[in-house]
Subunit: 378 residues, 2 copies
Amino acid sequence: MDISCQSLQKFGVMHRENAGLINLNPIQRGGILTEAARKTLDEWADGYSICDHCEGCLEAIKKPPIDEFTGKILPDFLGAESVRVTHGARESKYMVMHSLCEKGDPILVDGNAHYSTHVAAERCGLTVYEVPNAGHPEYRILEEEYAAQIEKIKPKLVILTYPDGSYGNLPDAGKVGRICSEYGVPFLLNCAYSVGRMPVDAKKLHADFIVASGHKSMAASGPVGLLGAQERYADTVFRKSERFRKKEVELLGCTARGLPLITLMASFPAVCERVRNWDTEVGNARYLAAGMEDIDGVRQLGERPRNHDLTAFDTDAFYRISERHKKGRFFLYHELKARGITGIKPGMTKGFKMSAYGLKKEEVKKVVDAFTEIAGSF
Amino acid sequence: MDISCQSLQKFGVMHRENAGLINLNPIQRGGILTEAARKTLDEWADGYSICDHCEGCLEAIKKPPIDEFTGKILPDFLGAESVRVTHGARESKYMVMHSLCEKGDPILVDGNAHYSTHVAAERCGLTVYEVPNAGHPEYRILEEEYAAQIEKIKPKLVILTYPDGSYGNLPDAGKVGRICSEYGVPFLLNCAYSVGRMPVDAKKLHADFIVASGHKSMAASGPVGLLGAQERYADTVFRKSERFRKKEVELLGCTARGLPLITLMASFPAVCERVRNWDTEVGNARYLAAGMEDIDGVRQLGERPRNHDLTAFDTDAFYRISERHKKGRFFLYHELKARGITGIKPGMTKGFKMSAYGLKKEEVKKVVDAFTEIAGSF
């Protein structure tokens, strides 16, 4: 070790460049902390803060009331009989794959699955088959195709992304769940973009597993996620160590200690409330989509009408401007920033996704007005 | 979902019962945030805060300067050619085992290994062999026994816990490293209790892998850890996905987003400084051990003299009191708390471990005085 302390000073004073702007990045909107969560930060920030009263199992801690939260509240909330805290949705998916499958086994996923579903499968050495989406412009997943694929490939696990992170499509999960039940194949619902935003009940959708993301959709500091399992699979996925009887093998004994879990818990009362206002969010998403499509050369992708806040657009209008603008393809990023808006990746003009989740109606209007004004200015 | 919002109010107002007390729990002492880290909390608390400028790879993010931190600073600090951010030490160990070993493979670990080493191996389906410790009262690991064991079991990986979490023993890691080099077996050093507290250089100790814990020893909010690898193994452990070329398979594409990593970075200038004052900490540990042993019926376990802050004691003195005290075995917890001290597990009186890491000399004295006074009061 030969590090000059001088070179390190910048790490002590890092600031978030775009703090205070409206951030349209869909991964950011559902993870903004509630006031209650923000108030926990100082008191619970130290390393292992939540372990003061641990007796060997995270989910059994009574102070703070993690036991009640994970043992009673979350099972109700998710419609899953057993729930564990994980590092995130991807880690939850990996746990299930790793518990249920052997290397080389086939699994079946939707064609809109998140990259982390594929990477988790790759880590397990699984062979991934896809139910393709129906292509441009809606990219729908055709639920009924799951039956034929299950017959053909005999998967050890079926996964549906609900909604996907590219188009925000919400397929008929219950229909896929019923198909999986009929064939006796375990069914995992990836709800990283839904649990915490909208009501989802794994049992009603015939899902054996439900996966959620605290930092993506439950107003928690990252990284933290949830894995819910119905009882018939809980003993397999949450199996205990042979030698250390309190420790669950797939969780490596313990997962999200500290602030991620505390903020998840502290935000939960508000999260529980906000999922009941999902209709308002869908209304805002439709307003945003309609406003964007009023711009000549902008077209909404994915399902119509919108049923989720994450919405992708073909934005030829902005691409055409980028070709003649002196800042080139970075013009849009700067023009939006000048209007107090961020979250569209710098350089993106041909197409992008965004979300207005949690914004007030006048803020959604401000967003639509900004894009409209920019489109008309060049 | 049928949750009464009334029942949730308590989650919005959680407090840390023992805030403000001197916490002797060894897992807590190295994870207390620095002031610089505490100042980042509000600005960086939202879910995916550090992903504002991500282009698909955590370790390539320039704002905040994660690329420089993980690509330049940490390799220097750890003496490891490639470094990745993980969810914690256990997750780092699992990544290495999962990359280097096949189900059924033998690995060799020290008899003082943390339970999570065993659980990670169990998750991989490995067969664990141990170099036993030399037993009571020092529980030393005999480094030279690694050679015979390697010849006998032909392990795919050798692990040494440096120091262990039970006795705080610091074996001669360089000696084990040289043995592993001679036999050509990859060598992993579990430094969850050392990196961030004391200087450790993987290369100098002939370690192929070094594992660290942010929440345990680097003044970071949990969960966050590090995995350092020398170049000859980096391509294996940090291999990229076939389909998603920016994503590393063992990391599932991305790990510790958000506050855990930001606090790790913000604390780092102070952490880099504090490891240079390790002698002072060892001095305090020896003072604590000597002071405790001045109590009749208290005996220090583990290496003598102390070379690490984590120290275990046989405390027959307190057990004898518990047999006649009206609060029984919980008396010690309450007596300590009345003196502003916590971190010894309620009910423990026969023996326990503790640490005075980071305490001022007068605080260490206060701790010794408290135990001495309690021992003399009943």
